[in-house]
Every structure is written in structure tokens, then in C-alpha cells.
Symmetry: C2
Subunit: 453 residues, 2 copies
Amino acid sequence: MRPIDALVNSLPGGRVVTDPDVIDSYARDRTFVAPGKPLGVVLAASRDDVVTTMRWATEHRVPVVPRGAGTGLAGGATASDGSLVLSLARMTAIRELSPVDEIAVVEPGVITADLDRAAREHGLMYAPDPSSYEISTIGGNLATNAGGLRCVKYGVTRDSALGLEVVLADGRVLDTGRRTMKGVTGYDLTGLFVGSEGTLGVITSATVRLRRAPAAPPATFAAEFGSLRDAGAAVTAIMAAGCQPSLMELLDRATLKAIDDWRNIGLEPATMAMLIGQSDAADAQAVAARMERLCLDNGATFVAVSSSPQETEELIGLRRMAYQAKERLGACLVEDVCVPRSALPDMITAIEAAAARHGVPICTVAHAGDGNLHPTFVFEHGTAEPPPEVWAAADEVFTKALELGGTLTGEHGVGVLKRRWLALESGPVAQDVQHGIKAVFDPLGLLNPGKAI
Amino acid sequence: MRPIDALVNSLPGGRVVTDPDVIDSYARDRTFVAPGKPLGVVLAASRDDVVTTMRWATEHRVPVVPRGAGTGLAGGATASDGSLVLSLARMTAIRELSPVDEIAVVEPGVITADLDRAAREHGLMYAPDPSSYEISTIGGNLATNAGGLRCVKYGVTRDSALGLEVVLADGRVLDTGRRTMKGVTGYDLTGLFVGSEGTLGVITSATVRLRRAPAAPPATFAAEFGSLRDAGAAVTAIMAAGCQPSLMELLDRATLKAIDDWRNIGLEPATMAMLIGQSDAADAQAVAARMERLCLDNGATFVAVSSSPQETEELIGLRRMAYQAKERLGACLVEDVCVPRSALPDMITAIEAAAARHGVPICTVAHAGDGNLHPTFVFEHGTAEPPPEVWAAADEVFTKALELGGTLTGEHGVGVLKRRWLALESGPVAQDVQHGIKAVFDPLGLLNPGKAI
């Protein structure tokens, strides 16, 4: 009997897929990284399925690649040859939602926006909102410590994670954290799992923090600038004035141009950058007016402010169009550096220089309030992987980000794509202890090998 | 040559203290836990001193007990026989304070309130404010993941820690985290060290997040209630209304009585609980009025609201007097359970029942917005350690907190005092992996042995 048959026999019917075509659709994420040929896919429906799978994997020494919806941008869910893909996408129950305690207990396959909608029925929200939140899962968000647009005000996924149920490599079940707002018993295992990209265990349930949803509709502004430096200065001024925007996005000219070519937004020739910001405070309109003033003080050539839900949707829609607009230009390598906020203009300048030097079109959007930039390197559609000049430009961008006191990845994760730069950011001691921690949880190295660390 | 002489020889002059009387003053924290006889105390003045000390400790297999100001309430800094005490209290430099990036880089011996004051010169604040913040250090706050009064709005120490420089047991230097607001490269080692109570490494520098300080003075209210249940209901209503108080403290009758006996605050016979709350929002006065209304709606018998700094100081002063007032009654075992907010009234009822059943006076204050209660068990002054009935009552309180979905410790840490209950909260798998992690960082078990996990 093949090992995979033993797994089929020990799980309820229909859980294991071995049809090569179906397997292939579970072997990739949203990157170009080419997967290997996995043995099969488990469509887990319960924690017990995960326990059975991991026990089997340990017994047969089969590497396991856990995945949510496969929307990752770092290759973290790319399956390798001979591995088993473990999909948590069918574990979609919101087990509990407590309006009084402002927590929810959810399975990993819950779509992030669905949890947010469920919370809003009680006047609450689930704050983390990666751009993918209509298609990505809580489990995947936890695995990558996903950020998003609102995290400039509400923090990243880690800031909403209170406790986890995790199945370890050998099938043991570990409960981490708590249901309370505070707690310091033992080491912070919850924090350790968040962002560990499926290399330490498989999350089968999460207790997450909800927050009060703003009562009034937000007020939104869009401001155009004749230079990226002016836009960067406006961001700094807005943050320093304590405006606490709930969203603060920057789009560079290349991105605006891609959107304009697609949707004809009437882009002015002199517009080099656009800032889209939002306040969801009780006095949102007044805060937005203050942010408008700070944009004008810092050289904005045009600012529009709105608190009508429809106009707000249109302004935010511009931002959400960015990725699709870029995909029309070619294949995309989406990067994710993060720098101290003050270094935003220098980072943007360096990105433009890298684009020019290597002849690679780069479109950049940024969660500007956090200093988190997504330079997107565009290359020819149908190319199997980014050509050398893209990597050369990316290398320059990463090196500059680190030189400016920044990091390789603000919210997407290391996956496989950023591993070759890892040693530049994490010194040998940090890498050594991380491998030590990995060995505590997964001594046989079965969980998502070759990723993250 | 004794091992300690080798250490004296390898450190700059004056760093090592071996006078038994001086040693004794570095061997305790704020608990009654009796220390052993350490070999000596190192008064580290630099990272290099710490490296030298840890290399020596590894070479000679000497346990090391790191400490800040010794204000801990769980026995975490209690020195053991034959150990070396490593004091970081002299490393008091604020190395950097960047108003634009809203970060500071500080040495571990910086007094928490000093960092806050330094930040306020730039319109910023360092948010975490344990009650001890005028005498405790950042290093100690990080080691215990200290909470405080403001953390109901701004989070605990962990939420302000971005990166650390840590000396490991063998003297290697590990840099964790980053200077940016976001970042997901590698495992969250920063979070792992925060709250690890000196058992994984010695923090020699921290990059912390600062926040904009509120521009206007806060508005404060104090409300009296005829029952603890009413006060608990008011807390729930205030939090559910999205008031986002910057402070929300509950004092029970026993605490109020102790303060009244000391300072004669005119306590009404029918007052069973007091809530003291604050808003530091832009519209603080309006929010305080809303909180006042919610107190009255939930049975408050009297509410006073003020935004004059002096009256605010008086109201908050009541809360700050609580501990000293209790110390007048006897020796104190200060506990620190945390429950989901909805369980606050049940927890208080259980504390009162335990007090009555075991004949132990218990005074309770709570960071009520977080569900974090500090029941203080009072016993006879001069008693070497709490008598059996105090432990019996404490046992009941801990068990009930866990039963209500809570935790043994919201912000003080496990230290030595709570280790005997640890297995009730952390299951065997969690304990096993924590010991595994400990062994990665400190294979010889030299760092603060017998604490935390």
C-alpha cells in the first residue's frame, strides 16, 4: 500500500484528492513560483482531520504544505515534489462571536471579510484588512501576519490574535494564548505562530479580538501632488499632527498611469503621486479637513474630500484597482519593503532609480502611514519567472530598504521569494535561534520546508 | 581563584559587588519571597559588561538572575543561592528619540516615566504605564510584559516593543525585530522575549514605539455604586458604547474603606464600589459626559466629572493611594487575574466569597476595562510568608479565574509565586514546547532558573 492510501483509509471519505489536475490547482499561490508534484491534497474539515494527517505525515516522513486560499504573494504555499498539501479552506465556521467580550473564535478557512461582516452585525469589526480580504482566509492571514489598509490605525493581524489552537507536526494539539485582553502566563506562543508561515504548526482555530466599528461613515480625501517628495512630506505632517488616519495610501505616477490607461481617470500630466486617506473618527469630517489642509500646505495641487459612502467607495476603488491595472501591463513581481516613515521619500527615490537603471517598469503603491511600500516589478506576460534585470532591480530595492533601517517584508512574508536576502536582514544569531525554535516544534522538518526562515 | 574573582578581573572596576549587605538589597523584589545567598551583583554599565558576565556564567555554570529596579510582584527577580545577580539599572541612556518615526531606542535601566517625559517634550508619549512606572524600568517592564492604567486604550508593553538587543546565555548578541511599524521577516522573536521574565536572554537595548500624546487635557470621572455588579455593568456599557476610555479603574469597598481609614475621603456607608474613568480623546469632555450618563443608567449613586488637571489628579490619586492604603492593613499578597470583560462581576463575587470562606481580608482594584483584577490578600505584618488560609483563598480565586476563561496573570508575570498553578492554565503540550524553547536559548539553564515557565 502506498503511504497516501493509508491516509485515504484513515480519513473520512472524500478528504484526500489525488487527481493530478485538481492537485495542481492547490499547489500554487499568487506568485509565479512553479510548484513541484505533490502526492495529494487533504481537504480538512475538522481539527481531527488535521491531527490524523500530521500523524500520518510524521509516520511516513512526508512534508506537509498547509494552505488557506492560496492568495499569498511570497510563494509560502507553493507545494514541493512529494509533499502533501493540507488545505484548511473548508474549515469555515465562526464558532463563537461575543459582542460583550469583543472576541470571536473562528476556524482557519473563514474568509477575512466574512468575519468582518459577521462582526458588523453587532456593531463590531475585525480590523485587519489585507487587500485580499474578500478572498483570503483568517488562517492564511495569521500565517503571514497580514497587514492591510486599516492597520495604520488598528495594527496588523498579530494585534488581533489572542489565542490559537495548533496541531503540531507530530499531531499533538497545542493551545496558545487566551480569551482575555491581557495575559502573561508563559511565553508568547501566539505571537510566535503568527507570521511563521506554516512552518511551526497548523492553526485549526483562532480566538481573535474584535473592535467597535465606527458609528459614523468615514470621511475620505484624495490629494494629487507634483512630486513624490511632497506627498511623502504630507504623510509625515498628517501623522505628526496626530490625525490618526484609518487609511493612508500612496500611489505613484506609474500606478496612476496604469489605472488611467485602463479606466481613464483623467490623470493630469503634472500629477506624480496621489494620496488617499481616510478618517473614521467621531469627528471624521473635521479630521479629513485637517488632513486636506496639511496636503495643501505640503504642495498638493488638488484635494477632494468626501463623506458620502458612494464617493468614498470611488476614491478607495482607485486604490483597489491598482493591482489589476498593473497586471494589464505584464506579469508582476509584487514586493513589500517597509521603512521608517521618515525614509519614505528616500525609498521611493531609490525605487525610481532602480527602475531607470535596470530598465524595469516599477509601479509603487504604499501603505504610506506605516512606511510599507509595494513596488511592483513588471515583466513580460508568459515569462516563466522574472528575468535577471527584475531581480537586479529588486536586489537594489531590498538592499536600500535595509540600509534605511527597514525590512524586506512588511506584511507578505518571506515565503520562498525573499529567502535569498534573509541573511542580510537577520544576522547569523537570529537565524540560528529561529532554526532552533523550528526544531522544537517540528524536529523532522516536515512543515512547509524551505519557507520563511 | 574563586570564579567571582575571575569575573571581577574581566570587568571594569567597580562593576562587581560582593559585600553581603549590598548584595541582599539586590536579591529581592516587592514580594515577600525570601531570596537565597547570591555570589555577587554585577552593576552592568554597557552591553559589553553583560556579554562578559554571560560568558563567565556559561564558563563557570553560574545561574544569573537579571533585574531592573526590583519592583516586580511575582518574585521573578528573587535571587537564588549561588547565583549571580545582574542589575541593568545603571544602563539608563535614551540612545535615540525620533519624533518623526515615533520611536525611541533605550537602555533597559531607563525609568519608564522618564521615557514618557522625554517623549512628551516632542508631543509624544510612551504609553505603557504600570502603577510602578515612576520606579520601574523599561527592561523590567519588557521582561514581564507590564500593563498599566492606560493599556485599556493603548495596549501593553508588548504592543510598544518593536525590536530588542539581547545577550544570550552564552554571550552571543541577538538583534530582534526592527525600527519599522510593520515587519514579518522571520519568527517574532521580539514578542517571545517580551514577558519571558529573564529566562531567555538579557535585554540590553529596546526600540520602542511612541505615540502622539493627546493635545487637550483628559476628562475624568469618578462614580460610586451601591453594588459591584452595577459597577461591572457600567464598565460593560461604557466599553460597548465605544467610549474608548484611556483609563477605567474599579475599586471595591474594602479598598475604599482602607483609603478612607487613612485619608478620610468621606466614604458613604452604601458605597460598595467606585469607578474612575478617563477619556483623552479630542472631545474628552463630551466622552466623559457620555460615560457619566452610562454610569447613572447603570445604577451609579453619584458621579463627579472634571477636566481640571488638579481635580483629575485628585481622582486618579485615589486610585494610586490604593496600594499604600492596603499596606497599612497588613502584609499584602497582590494577585493579578484577568478574565473576559463579561465575567468581571462573577469574578468579583467569587473573590468576595473566597474572602468570607477563608476569613481573609481581600481588597480588590481592577483595570476594569481589560477585565484585569488585582485582589490583594492581606495578612499579618511581619509574617514571613502568607499563611495557609491566604493560599487557600488565592487558590480559589485562581481556579475561578481559569474557569471563567481567564488567566492567572494579566500583567505581573508568573515569577515564582504562580508556578504552582501553571499547569492548570498551560496544558502539558504548551509546557513542553516552552521548555524546548528555553533550551534553544539557554541550554545550560543558567538564566533565571525556576521562574516563569
